[in-house]
């Protein structure tokens, strides 16, 4: 027993303990991604998500106070994972930033459910009353700041031309990524999303290079 003690400490607790709760919480979040991807936020129902996971609606509400709380939790978890994996370090150059964006696109090509969910919720959030409206406003601000910061440092280091417009170029890059995701979700075998992004960013870097 000693040797195994540190491995899955939480599952050694009684039924209903932290581990079971965490695992159930994760399954609810995963199911919600698929429901939002297929039905959108408004037509998704807590009752159907709970049923898919095999819990009661009351059980679901133990983890997430409301439909809106579940939505924000799904989005925040999704971002946390991506930030940790792709955006934890400040890119050393514009070229370095662009490589990371291509890596992210390649990663996304392996999770069509997540891509479809993002497409649908980002589109729905265009309505000012949508519960994810403020979230997506902030998210685009963060993405634009991250990319335009890398472009500005590229100008400062002499990597990029001094007249590079970091903010507007970052907006264009975000548009290419989102627009490719929209096309790709319709036809996931029709083209290579990461290669398309790479070709665009390679050309952009050649034009912007000092």
């Amino acid at each position: 027993m000693e040797a195994n003690q540190g491995r899955r400490p939480r599952t050694s607790r009684a039924r209903g303990g932290y581990a079971v709760g965490d695992e159930r919480r994760t399954r609810i979040l995963d199911a919600a991604v698929e429901h939002y991807a297929q039905w959108g936020f408004h037509a998704s129902s807590l009752a159907r998500i709970a049923k898919d996971v095999g819990v009661t609606q009351g059980g679901l509400l133990h983890h997430f106070r409301s439909k809106e709380d579940l939505l924000v939790s799904v989005l925040e978890r999704s971002d946390e994972q991506d930030v940790e994996r792709f955006f934890a370090a400040e890119p050393a150059s514009a070229a370095d930033c662009f490589r990371t964006l291509v890596d992210l696109a390649a990663h996304n090509a392996g999770r069509p459910g997540r891509v479809r969910m993002f497409n649908v919720l980002a589109a729905e959030a265009g309505s000012p009353g949508h519960p994810a409206h403020a979230y997506f406003e902030r998210r685009y601000r963060d993405v634009l700041d991250h990319v335009s910061g890398a472009l500005r440092r590229g100008v400062d280091s002499g990597e990029l031309r001094p007249d590079t417009d970091g903010e507007q170029t970052a907006r264009e890059i975000a548009a290419v990524m989102d627009g490719l995701q929209l096309q790709w979700a319709l036809d996931t075998t029709g083209f290579d999303m990461a290669e398309r992004l790479r070709a665009y960013l390679d050309r952009l870097l050649r034009v912007l290079a000092a």
Copy 2:
């Protein structure tokens, strides 16, 4: 009476005639655009759309057989209007094609409801079971054919470099347009969508020029 006879011939018919029917049909289609934009297809309801227009659900079903029929009718009318206005003539050059795309973006900046509807339905249609899935597959095919055709003719005429990849470049252009629409719907006063597209296409044309 003679002088007025040709002006509004349909309204001279009895109540319930073609003119009243056409006008009601148009109001239903307009209301549906706003409902899809705000709620998505699945959470939109024929009963609520009918209520907004001031007709009964039965009255709505007189014009559109089903929820899916109304969806397809909204999309087809939207496309017909755009095709007539922007894509009736084959562009004489890549530069000509790009100018038309900027005109379309400027036109779209005047109709946020239509833009939000397009964003939401295109995103939802990524799910293979969505009633607009086939429609959006065909629509992207048409857009890619139109733009890649203009690029290929640009190569043939000596306007563009011979190694221009029409298909992949068209995909990128569509992505920029859609991605900008997604950002713009979240913040319609934050940036000029048509100017952003123009800056992108101007740079692209310089790179592709023979």
